[in-house]
Amino acid sequence: MSSWIPLWLHKLGSPPTFYRFAGKLRPWMLALAIVLGLVALYGGLVLAPPDYQQGDDYRIIFVHVPSAWMGLFIYGVMAVSAFIALVWRIKLAEVVAMESAPIGAAFTLITLTTGSLWGERMWGTWWTWDARLTSELVLLFLYLGVIGLYHAFEDRRQGARAAAFLALIGIINVPIVHFSVNWWNTLHQGSTIRLFGPSTMSGSMIWPLLTMMVATKCYYVFSLCSRVRADLLALESGKDWVRQIAAGETAR
């Protein structure tokens, strides 16, 4: 009865099927991301009240925190597909892992940039060697290392496998970095964002944040679909299904 799910997943692993599936999924995800993003921005920038302590400056949270979540989430996706790629040597998993890395790096960069803008307003400094900031920077370096290693190889699949291995080593390192910065005696004790702490945010601030989180997820799926489609065409160039697509494009 439910045997079509594994079969469907199995089929989805083949490049032509995924290419078509991603092509159908892509516009929906983009539309969802735009609509939800606009709703979240309206809710966050217009409807939500100013913070009693930070005034209007806190509103950068609606970009900053969802990006920070995405930075970690995408690393997780990348590591899982890297594991699948290394163990079962599925071509699609390699491509997903490698095309996730630039998106994750972009979200991490957004987190660092908006964080430093916020820090300038709140703490009066662009950068402090706080545990959270430093671990975010290390995360960015991890992403850049994976991207760099992928592009250092002539052979794309070989590069993907090497970079996937690095991504897996990196995920072992994430908790190590997290804990070691806790023991690292920082001079500056940076203030941290507590979402569900005692000084919790009001509901009018939470819902735009959560909506933005869903919007960024949708954008990630859209971006990943587009990138994977392009990468699959390049990887599989010369195969029949790519030829058919190319023939269709020229005939049109």
Partner: protein
């Protein structure tokens, strides 16, 4: 086909690498010279005040040694890949992880050990108190094998590429952050007269873990990189 016993194979790999390094003694001196030059730059850049130099001495020596090792890492498997002897090692019946462990040991002996030997000199150039010297040596003795082991995995990953120098720095930095934090933490604690055994113990634990896992990871990475 009768294969050589493990012990003899290990000794052979170690002897070969050490002989090769000894034939090119100039290369062994390079990281040491590099560390010496970088250390002399600190007083020029920061000013020759003793109090300031004393405060940064531990961390500066640590970072200098790390950078010198990073430069040397790039060449760990370079010549072996070029002349094809690494492929022979992969094909050999002995476990690859063990053979690579021997190569890492040889590399540590030829690059890190000279750096540890001159570390007290570097530290005293920056006015590190004599009482802290044993802690510095202990921290380096535990931190440098970690760097060699971690570095070997990354070098193995880049074995299939032409240009890897800068990339290696980018990949090693996130991995060696904890090592630097704990080693520097032990030095800072010793300098302030506080107990310093806890960070040293962490370094030791991490080294034990790396000793077991890194050669295996290195072998897996090398297989990926050479599997063209």
């Amino acid at each position: 086909m009768n294969q050589a016993p493990l012990g003899r194979a290990c000794a052979a790999v170690l002897r070969r690498d050490l002989t090769l390094a000894w034939r090119r003694r100039g290369d062994i001196a390079m990281p040491v010279l590099y560390a010496l030059i970088v250390t002399t730059l600190f007083p020029f850049a920061l000013g020759p005040e003793n109090a300031l130099l004393q405060r940064i001495a531990g961390g500066a020596v640590l970072v200098t040694v790390l950078l010198a090792m990073l430069l040397a890492l790039d060449g760990m498997f370079r010549s072996d890949i070029e002349d094809g002897s690494l492929e022979q090692l992969v094909l050999a019946p002995q476990p690859l992880a063990l053979m690579l462990g021997m190569k890492i040991l040889a590399h540590w002996l030829t690059t890190a050990l000279p750096l540890i030997v001159i570390a007290p000199m570097l530290a005293s150039m920056l006015q590190l108190p004599v009482a802290v010297m044993p802690v510095l040596l202990l921290a380096l003795a535990l931190a440098t094998p970690m760097l060699s082991l971690l570095g070997a995995v990354l070098v193995a990953l880049t074995a299939g590429t032409r240009r890897s120098g800068m990339l290696l720095a980018l990949m090693l930095l996130p991995l060696c952050v904890p090592v630097v934090i704990f080693a520097a933490g032990a030095l800072a604690a010793a300098q302030q007269g506080l107990p310093w055994i806890a960070p040293i113990a962490w370094l030791g634990a991490a080294l034990a873990l790396a000793l077991v896992l890194a050669p295996l990871a290195c072998a897996a990475a090398l297989r990926i990189a050479l599997d063209a």
